[in-house]
């Protein structure tokens, strides 16, 4: 890296800091801080969601995985985007209509304050772990690209990434997060638009990839291997869970101006991310030809940058990559602080706190969450398997939340707080048990290490699926007022009708019904593609991708109908 590259990077960081901090004066009350006073418009929402979702985990991890295993990893992002569309059509409009700020808050509306506090506390811990991993990855990439080493360099990069994000997020809250994320989304996309033609020209473009890579590396849906058709099914299901319950994502969506904006923003974000996901994966394939035999596949992106991107342009590309990280950190810092203040501080500790005190506590909590993030980032190299640890945490905690909150919470009136509370604990408990069984045999049961993540997710969700209805049926019926309120959120409110801003979960107009039909046809074609993949058919990839494109097209049309 040259001096000019460093100047570009630090000018960018300064600019982001100033822009974020400028929103300090836009914060008048807790809702301004947590959800921008619910003012965000569709394109700002879509760009913010995309920026929150993309980070170096994608740039580095996807390029590394495609380097090692081929292009199939792209489905992790594609199914995630399909899930965003699903959630934007059917789940988020209901949650936004309830005017909540966090998922645990919805759990109080649907179940009880106890369920809200339990899951709020669990999620503060979960987001802290995620932030630590995100920060660690950012520091590692920065050190690789700049060629800096040692404890001082590590600490310096930690400071660069975290202090700026902590200060501007604490000052401007969700306003700062949303508007800096828009700029960061543009910068990261620009970086990809530079990287891809440069590296693809060196390998002879797509024809060169097909000619030089191992057969099957460019097959999107395959019968065997770690990223086969079954992986796509599993990651799609986890994606729906993520798009329906992830606090970092949902808090941004709750900032939307109205139900229509939520739906459009989520669907737009899903659609625009699909081509971008392809662009994050192919550099890894090019690196396999240009730099075969890398000891660590995750070095693929860094190696490409250092060897093929000229000075000054490298500075601009780095700015794009750093943008992806800072945007994710700031959004999740804000989410962690909001969760604690909204679901623990205001629910248990100080229920009569004034607006001023709440905003002060939100800012303070962002600082504390930042310190926890830094501690986690320092722990990563010591434990060595932090990414696996993070995956373990989500396999234990996330699926039971989805079962309790979305599956039973929105679909089964008889589910009560006792069922939800014990269902969640049973899911988490069995998840922990399965994880332990993947390390040491427990009562004669041993889970193979390779499949521990998938088996844990399956066991934790099955336990919640079984325990929640069992306990609900054995205990008293839920509070009918709570159930009625959640069920009412499926329909348009009087205010939406007055403002001619209605959104029907199941459309009533012909264009709306047609759009939903196209969306569903796309889903079916996608499923056929996966089935063909399970049979080893050559038509599997083309069918699944065609289905996905129709799915996105139908979703986008649906967002602009009734």
């Amino acid at each position: 890296m040259t001096l000019a590259d460093y100047v570009i990077v630090f000018v960018f960081l300064g600019m982001i800091f100033l822009l974020g901090s400028w929103f300090y004066k836009w914060i008048g009350n807790p809702d301004d801080f947590m959800v921008t006073g619910r003012s965000i418009t569709p394109f700002i929402l879509a760009a913010t969601l995309a920026a929150t979702n993309i980070n170096l985990y994608n740039f580095v991890g996807y390029a590394g995985t495609s380097y090692a295993h081929g292009i199939g990893i792209v489905w992790q992002e594609w199914t995630g985007m399909m899930s965003l569309v699903f959630s934007g059509l059917f789940v988020l409009p209901i949650l936004r209509r309830l005017r909540i700020r966090t998922v645990p808050e919805y759990l109080e509306h649907r179940y009880s304050r106890g369920v809200r506090a339990l899951i709020g506390i669990m999620w503060v811990f979960r987001l802290g772990a995620w932030l630590g991993v995100v920060l660690y990855l950012a520091v590692k990439v920065a050190m690789n690209v700049t060629g800096t080493e040692g404890a001082t360099a590590f600490a310096s990069w930690i400071a660069v990434f975290s202090i700026i994000a902590i200060i501007y997020t604490a000052m401007g809250g969700m306003w700062a997060v949303a508007l800096t994320n828009v700029l960061q989304f543009v910068l990261m996309l620009a970086a990809l638009l530079i990287i891809v033609p440069v590296v693809m020209s060196k390998v002879g473009w797509t024809a060169g990839l097909l000619a030089h890579l191992q057969p099957g590396s460019m097959d999107f849906v395959v019968q065997t291997g770690p990223y086969n058709w079954l992986f796509i099914v599993a990651i799609f299901l986890l994606g729906i869970q993520w798009a329906s319950t992830d606090q970092g994502l949902l808090q941004t969506a709750f900032s939307a101006k109205n139900i229509r904006t939520v739906s459009r923003g989520l669907i737009l974000a899903g659609v625009i991310m699909a081509p971008i996901a392809y662009l994050t994966v192919i550099p890894g394939l090019a690196a396999r030809i240009l730099h075969p035999g890398l000891a660590n596949p995750d070095d693929a992106m860094g190696t490409l940058l250092v060897n093929h991107i000229p000075p000054i342009v490298l500075g601009l590309v780095l700015v794009g990559l750093l943008s992806s990280q800072v945007s994710t950190i700031s959004a999740n810092l804000n989410a962690t602080s909001t969760l604690f203040v909204n679901d623990v501080f205001r629910t248990i500790l100080k229920r009569d706190a004034s607006d001023k005190a709440v905003v002060f506590t939100l800012r303070l909590l962002i600082g504390i969450a930042g310190i926890i993030m830094i501690i986690f980032a320092y722990m990563v190299p010591k434990i060595g398997t932090a990414v696996e640890a993070y995956l373990t945490v989500i396999s234990i905690l996330d699926m039971p939340l989805f079962i309790v909150a979305i599956f039973y919470g929105l679909l089964w009136k008889r589910a009560n707080w006792q069922g939800a509370f014990l269902g969640y604990l049973a899911g988490a408990g069995f998840g922990i048990y399965t994880q332990v069984a993947s390390k040491v045999p427990l009562f004669g049961w041993h889970v193979a290490g390779d499949s521990a993540f998938a088996v844990t997710a399956l066991v934790s969700s099955s336990a919640a699926l079984i325990v929640t209805p069992l306990v609900s049926m054995l205990t008293a019926k839920p509070n009918p007022e709570k159930v009625a309120r959640v069920w009412a959120a499926r329909k348009n409110t009087a205010e939406e009708v007055d403002k001619a801003s209605t959104y029907h979960l199941i459309p009533i107009s012909l264009p709306g019904k047609t759009a939903l039909g196209i969306w569903f046809a796309g889903l079916l074609i996608f499923a056929v593609g996966l089935y063909l993949g399970s049979q080893g058919s050559d038509a599997a990839s083309a069918t699944a991708i065609t289905g996905m494109i129709i799915y996105f097209g139908g979703g986008l049309m649906r967002a602009y109908t009734d």
């Binding site: 003012s39 828009v182 990809l192 625009i272 004034s354």
Partner: protein, 59 residues
Amino acid sequence: MFDWITWGIWAIAFFILVVFIVQPIREFRRLYQEHKQANSKDASTAENMGDDAGEAKEQ
């Protein structure tokens, strides 16, 4: 030979880049105007109603 796949996807991404520069700027302008109007309305209301109104708003 021209690589239609890479350049096709690149062109879509470039189009997204342009749209996501132009549209958010438009939307932000509107938000800024709304914010300014809301602030001036609050200020004039506080002025008209005296200090009590200002205090009430803070609370």
